[in-house]
């Protein structure tokens, strides 16, 4: 790079000539260049991160190669940033390198998709489990726990012997060696997969269970017996980890029913051995997946004394287009249904409430499995009176159907659910898993095409999809975000703005549509977290969609239809299985966990140090912050003499502001003077901000009426709020280029920092705003923080408050929209300069917000 060599030469020259005055400026120039490179790399990393995040929920097609490339590019850029930072700071932050290495190793590890068994206990009660924990308890148990935690349905009591325990078991038995033996023999075609299966299961069954696992098992069983008030039989269920959960390895022994507590260990081993069925082995060989990474958790569930049990498919796989559900039921325990012993009733129900029975086949059910009062499990004759009757009432069927569809909606895929009716007539869910539907997609898409013709298109192709999906419901238009009711079920939420208060309603809505908002904003992020289909920035939603309207939202094609497009909803639920489950998505999700989350948020906090960096984002955040600090420090040494790069900006308000131009921040025609006015500022972001700050009404020139109390605290309080650290520059200083702004502004007793990038490329743009400090006591300061935060959120910022400290972020907006927000920030900074003094009580928060919004509006209209 031409510049680079020039800068170095200048530095070199100054070293020899010892030109101290000039030397200071030269050093600054060299640093500025490195800072620009750092900035560039910083933006690159943010860009890569944003693209990667979008791949998870957006329209991107990516593959493993993309993921590898992503990891490589990130590594390169982050490393480059570290080198630049250490150049700028004279090798002050070498400790970032080990932090970087750790994260880099973790990301690469994820890429290898090796079994990631988190440090977890050997056993866990089912009551503590939810869907996030599938790495520990396996898919099956995670789902069951989820149903209990988030949905109002009963599941059996139980505990899980975790993947950690399985790993321990495998390690202690040294099965790895045996596996390699088997794999080699199969590769040499010396043995078949069947032979391998029998050898491996014999191997496992002949080994003793490690003591610590056996102990946990005993303890878990004892707890169950105590809770249930007596001994009882167990259902021992495999709960495979990761990929295996998605492949139906229904081995012979993957579920054992009616297990006596004394046989629990044996049952565990048998179930674990089902990892090595010949089918599983063949599959893994074919897909090049190492057998040695196979792992599972095992659930121990208390068996329900069922009067009836069976299975429900929330969509009949034999005839998916019929939009019906399939239920099978038989007296006693589900063993009969699952094993195919004895007959069972079959019902076809409607998926629409009240779930009418469309067809029924009542079989003659001779045998059933029961748990008699003394324990054990017996196969008995069904009393003839019952044998010929329908096993469960239509009323129970309707309840079952409702519950099954509720689970389907929550899990977002067609479900295969095992259920039971207990001795009190209550429904118990025993197992739920996704059901793969082999549908004739051509037929279905033809029907979808035909169906959508019959429904009016209300809105099409407007705004941006923030969370993909298809949903239906009744429109509720938000009029007053301060008076939000509880949403009835099946609502499509429609709002003008993406207000923070709406975020609370999102999880219970079927879909969210907004007039204004960004797919990277706060509301969109919440929508994605809860997987609620949403479309933002539609513009006309509140005009076109009216309260009470029934609509179908297709947030895949970006079309909103009038009415309920049944075929589209059906298509959606059949098709949902499942992109998110794909290996690449899981890997990307795990990679992003080491790349995106920001732990180092507050540069003043104790944890703002290299050793606390947990992600690439932390590292670049730290590096950026320190680089700015050092650059500003460097500027202390120079004064605003006759140079084109460093000037004082003359403003209408009584503050000093010095700018350092690192490239294009001032207009080229700016004369060689120590001062300039706003018109010479080429950095549009700074110009807009200053215009807002100096706008009439923003800067209140009369000191706000301090009541006696607050004034006293400001004068006598233990130290003025600001932890004035040696690191924080005390001058008002801005580093500017034609697109970049880093502004540090001290007004009164508080500190504002704005860091932003505004260009023609929407995806590169961002604003970061930090605010701290104030006059008066902590409660008033906190009120002011809340007021500022509310205002910022109205402008789509994502805001975090910690006491009085605010950090707000905004990304990927168009240039003009960002400049408008800089203007707003300038106005806000001025406006709230003395606000905390008048924050006498909580109602003043709302007052402040209203006053500000009104003032902005007034300014715009004049």
């Amino acid at each position: 790079m031409k510049w680079q060599s020039g800068g170095l030469i200048m530095k070199w020259r100054s070293f020899f000539t010892g030109g101290h005055q000039k030397g200071g400026l030269d050093v600054l120039r060299a640093k500025i260049q490195k800072f620009q490179t750092l900035l560039h790399q910083n933006n690159r990393v943010l860009e890569l991160m944003a693209e990667a995040e979008e791949s998870l929920w957006g329209d991107f097609l990516f593959d493993m190669q993309y993921l590898r490339g992503l990891a490589g590019q990130l590594e390169k850029s982050v490393k480059g940033i570290l080198l630049d930072l250490n150049f700028i700071t004279g090798n002050r932050y070498l400790s970032l390198f080990p932090a970087f290495e750790k994260i880099h190793a973790a990301v690469n590890h994820v890429l290898l998709d090796e079994r990631n068994v988190p440090n977890a206990p050997l056993a866990m009660p089912l009551a503590e489990v939810d869907q996030q924990m599938s790495d520990v308890v396996g898919e099956k148990m995670a789902r069951l726990g989820e149903i209990r935690k988030r949905l109002p349905y009963r599941i059996p009591k139980g505990f899980i012997i975790t993947s950690q325990a399985c790993q321990r078991f495998f390690q202690k038995t040294n099965i790895g060696k045996k596996i390699v033996e088997m794999e080699t023999a199969m590769a040499a075609q010396k043995i078949s997969a069947h032979e391998a299966e029998s050898q491996l299961s014999r191997f496992l069954l002949n080994k003793p269970l490690p003591r610590e696992i056996a102990r946990q098992m005993k303890r878990g069983i004892a707890v169950l017996e105590k809770e249930a008030g007596g001994k009882g039989l167990l259902a021992v269920r495999s709960s495979a980890i990761g990929e295996d959960g998605r492949l139906s390895f229904a081995g012979l022994h993957d579920t054992l029913l009616g297990v006596q507590p004394a046989e629990a260990s044996r049952a565990y081993q048998e179930v674990v051995a089902s990892l090595f069925t010949s089918r599983a082995i063949t599959y893994r060989l074919h897909h090049g997946e190492p057998l040695s990474s196979a792992l599972m958790a095992v659930g121990f569930l208390r068996m329900i004394p069922a009067t009836a049990s069976g299975v429900v498919y929330t969509l009949d796989p034999n005839a998916p287009e019929q939009n019906t559900m399939l239920v099978s039921a038989a007296p006693g325990l589900g063993k009969t249904v699952v094993e195919g012993k004895g007959n069972s009733d079959r019902f076809i129900l409607s998926r629409h409430p009240p779930h009418q029975v469309i067809s029924r086949e009542v079989a003659y059910k001779e045998k059933q499995y029961e748990i008699p009062p003394q324990g054990g499990m017996v196969l008995t004759d069904v009393p003839s009176a019952r044998a010929e009757l329908q096993t469960v009432s239509d009323d129970f069927l309707a309840r079952l159907a409702g519950a099954a569809l509720h689970i389907e909606k929550h899990m977002k895929s067609v479900q295969d659910i095992e259920w039971a009716e207990d001795d009190r007539g209550e429904l118990v869910i025993l197992q739920a898993r996704p059901l793969r539907i082999d549908a004739d997609f051509q037929n279905i898409t033809r029907r979808v095409h035909a169906a959508v013709q019959k429904h009016a298109t209300l809105i099409s192709g407007r705004g941006t999809i923030s969370c993909r999906g298809i949903a239906h419901g009744t429109v509720f238009v938000v009029k007053d975000e301060n008076k939000l009711p509880e949403l009835p079920a099946n609502t499509v939420l429609v709002a003008r703005n993406s207000s923070p208060k709406l975020a609370e309603l999102v999880p219970t809505a079927n879909a969210v549509i907004t007039d204004i908002g960004a797919p990277t904003g706060h509301l969109a992020t919440i929508a994605r977290e809860f997987r609620v289909p949403s479309i933002m920035d539609v513009g006309i939603a509140t005009q076109v969609l009216r309260d009470g309207m029934e609509v179908t939202v297709d947030a895949e094609e970006n079309i909103i239809y009038e009415g309920r497009v049944e075929e589209l909803l059906l298509y959606n639920i059949i098709n949902s299985l499942s992109l998110e489950d794909a290996r690449e998505f899981r890997i990307l999700g795990r990679m992003l966990k080491r790349i995106v989350p920001l732990t180092l948020k507050d540069p003043q906090a104790r944890n703002f140090r290299p050793q606390y960096c947990r992600s690439y984002h932390d590292i670049i955040r730290f590096a950026h912050e320190k680089a700015v600090e050092y650059l500003l420090e460097g500027s202390d040494q120079i004064t605003t003499r006759k140079n084109t790069q460093c000037k004082k900006v003359l403003l209408q308000i009584p503050i000093d502001l010095t700018v350092i131009d690192i490239g294009g921040g001032l207009v080229p025609s700016s004369p060689h003077t120590a001062q300039c006015d706003i018109a010479e500022v080429n950095c549009a972001a700074l110009r807009s901000l200053l215009e807002g700050l100096t706008s009439p009404g923003a800067w209140s020139t009369e000191p706000a009426g301090m009541d006696g109390r607050s004034f006293m605290s400001s004068v006598t309080g233990p130290g003025i709020v600001m932890k004035s650290s040696a690191q924080m520059p005390q001058r008002n200083l801005a580093i500017i280029s034609d697109r970049y702004l880093n502004l540090n502004l001290h007004l009164g007793y508080h500190f504002n920092q704005v860091d932003s990038y505004v260009s023609e490329t929407r995806n590169d743009n961002y604003i970061y705003f930090r605010f701290a400090g104030g006059v008066t006591d902590s409660i008033r300061r906190s009120r002011r923080a809340r007021m500022i935060s509310t205002i910022l959120k109205k402008y789509d910022f994502m805001v975090e408050i910690a006491g009085d400290f605010i950090i707000a972020r905004l990304k990927k907006f168009e240039r003009q929209a960002l400049l408008d927000r800089h203007w707003m920030l300038g106005y806000l900074i001025g406006f709230t300069r003395q606000m905390d003094v008048s924050m006498r009580d909580d109602s003043m928060v709302e007052n402040g917000v209203d006053k500000f919004m009104k003032a902005i509006l007034d300014h715009k209209t004049c």
């Binding site: 791949s55 957006g58 329209d59 991107f60 097609l61 990516f62 593959d63 493993m64 190669q65 993309y66 490339g69 997609f441 051509q442 898409t445 033809r446 979808v448 095409h449 298509y571 098709n575 992109l579 794909a582 290996r583 690449e584 998505f585």
Partner: protein, 134 residues
Amino acid sequence: MMDRKIEICVVDDEPIVCKRLKPMLEKSGYRVEVFTDSKASLERLTEKKFDILITDLKMKPPDGLDLLHFTRKTYPETRVIIITGFATIETARDALKGGAVDFITKPFHIGQLRDLVLKISVEIQQGQQEGRMA
């Protein structure tokens, strides 16, 4: 008179690609067959003529270029689209010289591929109509 449905063959050794493209294309009204095993796809291509072949470049033999050459030789009317993560100028040139109608690098927006397929299918259907009228 209804036009025959456009038939598309997708070949990519990464399962996620087939998994995403199949529903997207079927939703747009095409008949789609997908293969992660390029050998199997070649067998299928010998028995059936497709309107469009979408194939990855870098796969275990037969690779994308092999499939491209085979198709151009056997069914000159079949349009071939190359989608690949390994994009170099040479490979792009080889593909286009070899007769591919387009070359898309991963990652890409799915809508991009959909629009391209739509454009091609319109051309094909216009060709069908002209054929009938002639």
